[in-house]
Symmetry: C2
Subunit: 207 residues, 2 copies
DNA sequence: GTCCGTTAACTAACGCCGTTAGTTTCTAGG
DNA sequence: CCTAGAAACTAACGGCGTTAGTTAACGGAC
């Protein structure tokens, strides 16, 4: 086959299959050869659509961030909007946990990230925040959401009672975390989010 | 050379040179062949000291986390201790920005991370927090610190006035962020940290 | 002092990887 | 109809992490 009558590949199809591979088997499992194989094609053909493999991963990231609901920003009161947006942002990450290390990595120059930054900044300024604070709050929320989506805290612990008791005096019961990591991570996120927005509201009152 | 009179390698020396490579040229620049070359050795010799390359990177991570000052925990009042510890944690990350994506990645089962979790959990419980809340607060702080160390928020913007004005109505002045990313990221971290701990103090009062 | 198991270096090689060069054939636009 | 460019191909390069198998020095036991 030299050139098919109808194209075998498209950017969308490549991103779709690449996302499936990463979701199923992790970032490291995404190689140009495997991606091409699952697309029914040879690896170099990908380079007719993307200049590098990194651009493919970038496109995966953009498509994930593009799915974050922004409708509450500028509509609801800012504290509620901020919390709802943070939850939507985090759950978009959580739907593709293997991509998060890449997403959180570099500065996000992808279009969807800019649209998101624009929306949250605009909502805060409209609500009465000074521009400088609005920038910092957008950044802080990104820090928190990215960090919480990144690595499970509770997964760091293994279900072995003896392991911690010996060396870490306060972690006697830490082994129990292993079995409930999803719940622990979720409730830690909720606690932090409430505290953070609560602190921001107090700061806002002082303006 | 088959076996030298005094060993050429040691775990410490490998970790030291590996850290220097990652700091200088990034995680991707760390290959077993380059690491070996800079150690004056052939690549497979590394496998006498570490089972996999990942274990080498793990050891880099552990040595960084081991440097975080924990002395304020259990000594100062918990809100101040928590803030000072978060700043120390973050600046340890910031000293090795290229390692952070790896550090933040998986659950941290390395000894230094466990010691750190033990110290912060112990300090909170001693201060009067219920154990469940202490766990969540430790996790939340880790989320925030890891997220803030991970990717610069401000670096996501390029110093090009026209780029944003067209597509993102509120980001008219975003291009100015590019020149001040360090300051923006630092002050966003400070603002978030103050708000977060402030919110936690209010929650503590309500107990 | 000699033996011997272990250690720490080596060389050679395997099967991956991302990517480039060069070729072929089909499509789309004038 | 002709032609420029797009989209597939094959072949190959240099690098990667890792394994197998070899060799010589070390350190303890007799």
């Amino acid at each position: 086959m030299v050139r098919p009558r109808t194209p075998l590949l498209s950017r969308d199809r490549i991103v779709e299959v690449a996302t499936a591979i990463v979701d199923a088997d992790g970032l490291d499992a995404l190689s140009t050869r495997r991606l091409a194989r699952e697309l029914g094609v040879q690896a170099p053909s990908l380079y007719n659509h993307f200049a590098t493999k990194e651009q493919i991963v970038d496109a995966i990231g953009d498509s994930i961030v593009a799915g974050v609901d922004l409708s509450m920003l500028g509509r609801d009161p800012w504290p509620e909007a901020l919390k709802a947006w943070a939850r939507a942002y985090r759950s978009a990450f959580r739907a593709h946990p293997n991509v998060v290390p890449f997403l959180a990595r570099g500065p996000a120059r992808r279009p969807a990230s800019l649209r998101l930054a624009d929306a949250v900044y605009g909502a805060l300024v409209t609500a009465g925040w000074p521009p400088g604070d609005a920038t910092r709050i957008g950044a802080t929320m990104r820090f928190f959401v990215a960090g919480s989506a990144l690595g499970s805290f509770a997964l760091g612990f293994v279900d072995d009672p003896d392991l911690y008791a010996r060396d870490y005096p306060h972690l006697r019961d830490a082994h129990r975390l292993a079995g409930q990591h999803a719940h622990v991570d979720d409730s830690a996120f909720e606690l932090g989010l409430e505290a953070l927005v609560d602190g921001l509201e107090r700061r806002f009152e002082r303006l």
